[in-house]
C-alpha cells in the first residue's frame, strides 16, 4: 500500500496535470444505477438541480462491478474532478483507500463515515424520520396492524424499520408491526413484483398502512396498497404524487440536498461529519396537496410536537445501528 501511494503521488502529478485545469464536480453512483427511483436517483436529481441553477457541468459514472469502486474513484480524482461525491455505505472502504492518495481533491461520502481530512461524510438520521411516519401510520390505522417492507436485512434498513415501529408504538402501544424484507441479492432493491406480493401478504394479515424502504421495489408496494384500498408510505423522495389518496406520506431523506450542497460548496469544501437529522432538515415527512386530505389537523399537531421534542432532545429515538437491538420489536 505504501508503494502504491508513492507511485500515485508521482503519477498523478506528472500525467494528469493537463486535465487538472478544470475542476468540475463528479458523482459516482452506487451499484443499482442512476434511475433506481430512490437513493441514486435522488443524488442525480440534486446534481441536475445544481446544473440547472448554475449552468455548470459535472461528470457522472455508474458501476457494474465492485472492483470498479476503487478504479472509478481514482479515475475521477485523476481526471481533475473536484469535489467527488460517492454514494453508498459500501464505498467507505473505497475512500479509505483512495482519498489519502489525492489530498487536494475533496471527497464526499453519502451514508457512511470515513475519518480523513479531505472527506466529508454525510449521514442521515433515518430512524428519526421513520419515527414520525410510524406515528402517522398508527394514527391512520384502524385494524391494529401496520407493516414494513425493507429491501435487504442490513443495519441501515433495519434502522428504518426500528424507527417506524417505535413511532407506531408511541401512539398505540398494542399495535402489531409486521416487518418483512424483500431478499438477499441486489435484485431485492429493484423487484416491484416481489414488493407487491409481500405487501399483499401483509395486507391479508390485517395491515392497513404499509411502509416501504426498498428502493425500486417500493413502487410495487405502493401500487399493491393502492389496489387494495389501504395506505402506504413512500421513502427517500416525496412519493405522495404516485397514488394520491393512498400514499399517506413519504419518509424524506434529502440525499439530493446533500449532493446539491457538495456541488455548491465546490473544491475545498468543509470536511468532517455532516449529520442530516430532523434538526438539520435532512429527514422528515412529506406533506403536500396529494395527501392534505389524509393527514388531519390532530395528526399533524401530534407529529409536529414529537418533531419538536426530538429536535429539542426531550425525546430520543433509538438508533438500531448503535447496538443492533430494537426496543420496539
Amino acid at each position: 500500500m505504501t508503494s502504491l501511494k508513492t507511485f500515485l503521488g508521482a503519477g498523478s502529478a506528472l500525467a494528469f496535470t493537463a486535465t487538472l485545469a478544470h475542476a468540475d464536480p463528479a458523482l459516482m453512483f452506487d451499484l443499482g444505477g442512476k434511475f433506481d427511483k430512490s437513493f441514486n436517483e435522488a443524488a442525480y436529481n440534486g446534481a441536475e438541480r445544481w446544473k440547472a441553477e448554475t449552468g455548470g457541468g459535472y461528470r457522472e459514472i455508474e458501476m457494474q462491478a465492485a472492483a470498479q469502486r476503487v478504479q472509478f474513484a481514482r479515475r475521477l480524482a485523476e481526471a481533475g474532478s473536484n469535489p467527488v461525491v460517492v454514494m453508498g455505505f459500501q464505498n467507505a472502504p473505497t475512500l479509505e483507500e483512495v482519498a489519502p492518495d489525492y489530498p487536494d481533491t475533496s471527497f464526499v461520502l453519502i451514508d457512511a463515515v470515513v475519518d480523513l481530512p479531505n472527506v466529508r461524510s454525510v449521514i442521515f438520521a433515518e430512524h428519526e424520520g421513520s419515527y414520525l411516519v410510524g406515528m402517522l401510520a398508527a394514527m391512520a390505522n384502524e385494524t391494529g396492524t401496520v407493516s414494513f417492507v425493507g429491501g435487504m436485512e442490513i443495519p441501515l434498513i433495519t434502522a428504518f424499520a426500528c424507527g417506524f415501529a417505535q413511532g407506531a408504538k408511541a401512539v398505540n402501544a398494542d399495535i402489531n408491526v409486521i416487518v418483512n424484507y424483500t431478499g438477499d441479492t441486489p435484485a431485492a432493491w429493484n423487484d416491484p413484483v416481489r414488493g407487491g406480493e409481500i405487501a399483499r401478504a401483509q395486507i391479508s394479515q390485517g395491515s392497513d398502512v404499509v411502509f416501504a424502504a426498498a428502493g425500486g421495489t417500493g413502487l410495487g408496494v405502493l401500487q399493491a396498497a393502492a389496489d387494495a384500498g389501504v395506505y402506504s408510505i413512500g421513502v427517500d423522495s416525496n412519493q405522495n404524487y404516485l397514488h394520491p389518496g393512498s400514499v399517506l406520506t413519504s419518509m424524506l431523506k434529502l440525499v439530493d440536498q446533500a449532493v446539491y450542497d457538495a456541488f455548491t460548496d465546490g473544491p475545498g469544501l468543509e470536511t468532517g461529519v455532516v449529520l442530516m437529522d430532523l434538526a438539520a432538515g435532512g429527514v422528515g415527512y412529506a406533506l403536500d396537496e396529494h395527501n392534505a386530505d389524509l393527514i388531519s389537523a390532530e395528526m399533524q399537531e401530534a407529529v409536529e410536537a414529537a418533531r419538536a421534542a426530538i429536535i429539542a432532545g426531550e425525546l430520543s429515538v433509538h438508533d438500531y445501528r448503535t447496538d443492533s437491538v430494537c426496543p420496539a420489536f
Binding site: E62, Q64, A66, A67, R74, P93, L156, G183, D184
Partner: protein, 365 residues
Amino acid sequence: MSGNGRIPNWADVTLVPLVSVLLAFILSGILIWAIGESPWAAVKLMVEGAFGSSYGWGYTLYYATNFMFTGLAVAVAFQARLFNIGGEGQALLGGLGVALVCLYIPWPHWSLALLAACAGAAGFGALWALIPGYLQARRGSHIVITTIMFNFIAASLLGYVLVNVLRPQGSQDPSSPRFPAEVALPKLHEMLALVGIPFSRVPPVNISLLIAVGMCFAVWFLLWRTRLGYQIRAFGESEPAAEYAGISPARITIYVMLISGALAGLMAVNSVMGEQQRLVLNAVEGAGFIGIAVALMGRNHPFGVFLAAILFGFLYQGGAELALWTSIPRELIVVIQALVILFTGALDNMVRIPIARLFALRGAR
C-alpha cells in the same frame, strides 16, 4: 455442439467464435452510431482502455481471472452434460471459505495463507455443489433447478453470516473486517518487477491469474489425459453407453459437481483475497453467470475458456472506460456484452453452417 465433422478443429475453436464476435461488434457499432456517437471512436476507446496500457491490461486480466475460474466450472460440468448454473452461489461460498481462513488463522506468510485459502475456497465451493450433485445423482432432482435455487440460498446465508457474525460491532456496512496485511497476495506488478518488467501498480490483478491459467491446464489434463476425464466425457456423450461400460452415473455426477464447485469457489481467491481484502455482500457480482457465457463461447474447452475469459475481461474493462469517458449509457454497454453472448452462444449455427459449407466447397475442389 461439436460433432460437425466438416469443420477442421482449429476453425471450430477459433474461426467460428471470431466471426461471431465480429458480427456482434458490427451490430454494436450500428447501435452506437444510431444514438449519435462515433462507433470508431468507441471501439478505439475500448481497445485502448483495455489493452493500451499496463493499467488497462491489469484490469482486463483481473476480470479475466474471475471469468476463467467460473468459465472452467461450467465447462467441466458441461462435459458431463450437467448444466451447473450455480457458479454464483458456489463462488459466494468460496468467498466465505477464504474469509474464514484469512480472518481466524494467523498466517506468517502469504504463500501459506494462499494455499489454505485455495483449499478453503475450493472446499466450500465444492461442498455447495455437492448437495445439488447428490440430489441429481440419487434423487433425480434436476441440476439446473437445484443449482439456481442454491444461488439464492447462498446469498441469504452470506447475508446472515455477514450481518450477524462477521460484521464488526457498530459497523454499518455488512462486510467482514479487513484481512490482516500478511495475507495480501502479491500483485502482478510485484511479480513482473522480479524479472524487470515495469507494470502499473494500480490494478488488482494478482497471483491468482497464474492459478487460473494453471487450472486451465489442469482441467485439460483431467478431461483428456486421465481415466476420470474419459469417464466424464463418455458419460456426457451417452449415459446409457457409459453405464453399459461400467461407469457409475451417480459417481460421475457427484465427482463432476465437486470439481465444478471447487473451480467456481476458487474465483473468490482472486476477488475476495486478491482485490477486496474483505468479504462483502454480493462479492461475486455476477461473474458466476458470466461463466456460463464464457464456457459457451469457449466451446467448453479449457483453451477456449481462457480466450473467452480474456474477451469478457476486455468487454468489462473497455466498457468501463467507455462509461467513464463518453455519454454512452451503461445500458448500451450491457447490450454490447449481450450481443456477444447472443452471437457466440445462441446464434452459433448461423455462422457455423456457412463456414462448414465453405470448407466443404474447398474440400470438393
